[in-house]
C-alpha cells in the first residue's frame, strides 16, 4: 500500500488536518478518543468529504479538491471492519459474508469463499442468523465480509474494542492470518497500545486532529510508558509448559518462568507490566517472588518522569520501570548486571 493523505476538515468544535505519506503492508493509527481517528477513516472511505486536500491510494486519486475528484465509497475499494461489527440483521451469515462479493466485478472476485470461511472457522455457522452469535463470531464474519470484497485496503476501526479481553486476543490471530494469507494491506485503528503492537509495526499517532508522530509501535509504547497506568506491557510468547506444584513452568530463553495465571497451555501469550518487575543490584538471598532472572541492562530511557530499563535476559528482552531515585541507587548503566524479580501472579495470559 502506498497511501498519501493530505486533507483538512473542520467542524464547529473540531478540526482535522492530516498530512502523511506511508508505504508498507500495515499501519496503525493510534490516538485517544476525540483525536480524529474515526473522522480520518470516514474521509478515507469517502463517507465524508474533506474541505480541502487530496487522498491517493497506490497512485489512484480518491479525492482531490483541486482536480474536482471525489470517488464514491463503493468505488474506492476500501473495506471496513467496524467496532460494532455492523452485520446486516436481515441476512444470515452466508449472505452477510457474500454481501460485498456480489457487488464486485467478476474479474475482481479472486478470494475464494470456502478458503476464507475455513481460515476464519465459520463453516458451521453459514446458515445461521446473526442475532445469536457471540461477539467474536460476529467480528470474524465482519472481517470475512470485508476481505471477500478483495479490497485494495482494509480498515479495521477499533475492531476489538467491543469485545471482552478473552475474545479480543482470540480474534487477533484471525485478523493477522487473513491479512497475510490473502495479501491485503490494512490500517488498524485503536487506542489500545497492546492491540496496536500485536497488529502492526508502524503507527501514526493522532492528537487533536493532527499527526503528532509516525513511529514504530515499540518506540511509542516506550514513550508512553510513564503516562500509562499499566506502564510498558511486555508481551511474551512462551512455550514448553510443564506443571509444577500448582504453577506453570515455561521456558524463557535459557531460563524458565513460573506463572500462576490462565489455563494450562503448551504455547501461550502472556503480558507482564513493567511495573511488576523489581530490580535488585545483588542476588537477594530469599524472596517470595517465584521468578528471579539475572539480566544485563541494554538501554535506559525516560518517560514522563519514569526510567525504563531494557533488560537482556539471555536471548529475550524485558522492559522494567523504576523511579529516578531507584535508578540512581541501583547505579543503573548500560551494560551493568541486575536481578529482575517477578511474582508468578504478575503475568496475565492473553491467549
Amino acid at each position: 500500500m502506498n497511501l498519501l493523505i493530505k486533507v483538512e476538515k473542520a467542524y464547529s468544535s473540531f478540526a482535522l488536518s492530516i498530512d502523511m505519506n506511508f508505504s508498507g503492508k500495515s499501519l496503525g493509527i493510534f490516538g485517544m478518543s476525540g483525536s480524529g481517528k474515526s473522522t480520518l477513516v470516514r474521509l478515507l472511505c469517502g463517507l465524508e468529504r474533506p474541505d480541502a486536500g487530496e487522498i491517493l491510494l497506490d497512485g489512484r486519486c480518491l479525492y482531490s479538491k483541486e482536480r474536482k475528484i471525489n470517488v464514491a465509497p463503493e468505488k474506492r475499494r476500501i473495506a471496513m471492519v467496524f467496532q460494532q461489527h455492523a452485520l446486516f440483521p436481515h441476512l444470515d451469515v452466508k449472505k452477510n459474508l457474500l454481501y460485498g462479493h456480489r457487488w464486485l466485478d467478476r474479474e475482481l472476485r479472486t478470494i475464494d469463499f470456502h478458503s476464507l470461511v475455513e481460515v476464519l472457522g465459520l463453516s458451521h455457522l453459514l446458515e445461521r442468523g446473526v442475532g445469536n452469535l457471540s461477539g467474536g463470531e460476529k467480528q470474524r464474519i465482519a472481517l470475512g465480509r470485508a476481505v471477500l470484497c478483495n479490497p485494495q485496503l482494509l480498515i479495521m476501526d477499533e475492531p476489538l474494542s467491543a469485545l471482552d479481553d478473552g475474545l479480543k486476543f482470540h480474534i487477533i490471530p484471525y485478523l493477522k492470518k487473513v491479512a497475510s494469507e490473502f495479501g491485503i494491506p490494512y490500517l488498524f485503528i485503536s487506542h489500545s497500545m497492546v492491540e496496536m503492537r500485536l497488529m502492526t509495526e508502524q503507527t501514526l499517532v493522532l492528537s487533536k486532529g493532527q499527526v503528532v508522530d509516525m513511529t514504530t509501535c515499540e518506540a511509542l509504547a516506550r514513550t508512553r510508558m510513564g503516562l500509562s497506568p499499566v506502564g510498558y506491557v511486555n508481551l511474551l510468547h512462551l512455550g514448553n509448559a510443564e506443571r509444577e506444584r500448582g504453577l506453570y513452568r515455561y521456558r524463557f530463553g535459557n531460563s524458565t518462568l513460573l506463572i500462576a495465571a490462565g489455563l494450562f497451555l503448551d504455547q501461550a501469550h502472556y503480558e507482564l507490566s513493567s511495573k511488576d518487575i523489581i530490580l535488585f543490584k545483588k542476588h537477594p538471598q530469599a524472596i517470595s517472588a517465584r521468578n528471579l532472572l539475572q539480566c544485563k541492562v541494554t538501554s535506559l530511557f525516560e518517560s514522563a518522569g519514569r526510567i525504563g530499563v531494557e533488560l537482556a535476559c539471555g536471548t529475550n528482552t524485558l522492559v522494567a520501570e523504576v523511579v529516578s531515585q531507584a535508578a540512581e541507587e541501583l547505579e543503573l548503566k548500560v551494560g551493568c548486571e541486575v536481578f529482575a524479580a517477578m511474582k508468578a501472579s504478575a503475568f496475565r495470559q492473553i491467549w
Binding site: R42, A72, E74, R76, F82, A86, P89, W103, A146
Partner: protein, 231 residues
Amino acid sequence: MLLPPLSPADYQAIALSIKVAAAASILSLPFGYAVACLLTYLEFRGKLLLEVLVNLPLTLPPVVVGYLLLVMFGTHGWLGAWLSQHGIRIIFTAKASVVASAVVGFPLLVRSLRTSLEGIDRQLIHAARTLGATWFGTLISVILPLSLTGLLAGSSLMFARSLGEFGATIIVAGNIPGVTQTIPLAIYEYACSPTSEQMALSLCLASVTISVAVMYLHERFARKAARRNGA
C-alpha cells in the same frame, strides 16, 4: 339499546371508505418513502422548507386543504384544466376522495417512515457503501428490508387517518351516496337528520371497530419495527 342493522348504503359507504383509504395509502407510499429518505439521509438547501410543507396538512384545517385542492383541481384550476383537457375529472368523484385523504394523511405517513428510517443503524448503511453497494443498492438491499415493518406501520396509520377523513373530502368530493360518500360523510348525513340518530350510532360503531382493528395492526408493526431497530 339495540342498534338498527346497517343499510345497503352504509355497507356501500364502508366499502368505499376502505377502497379510498387503501388507494390513498398505496399511492402515497412511494412518494412518502422518497420524501422520508430525503429528509432522513440527505442534507440540502431548502430541507427545512420541505419539512414545513410536508407537515403543513397536519396543522391546516382540513377544510382549508379541501378548498385549496378544489382551487387546484377545479375546471379552472391549473391542474384541473390540464387534466380535463386529457379527459380526466377529479372533483366530485371518488378520485377526489383519494386525493384529499392522501394529502391529509401524507404527513403522518412520512413521520412514521422517518421514525423507522432513523432507527436503522447508520453504520449498516456505511458498511454497505464501503462493501461496494451504490446508494440505490444500499436502499434496496439494506434500508428497504430493515424499514419494512416501519413501512407497514406508516401505511396502516395513514389508512386509519384516511378512514376518518371528512373536512377536505366534503369540500373536494362532495357527499354523493354510492360515489363519494365515505363513513364520516354518511354519519354526517344521518346526524343532520333528526330521525336517523340510531343509524348514525350503528355506523359509528362500525367505524370504531374498523379503526380499532387498523390501529391494533399499526401498533403491532410499530413495536416490531422498534424491536428490530433496537436489536
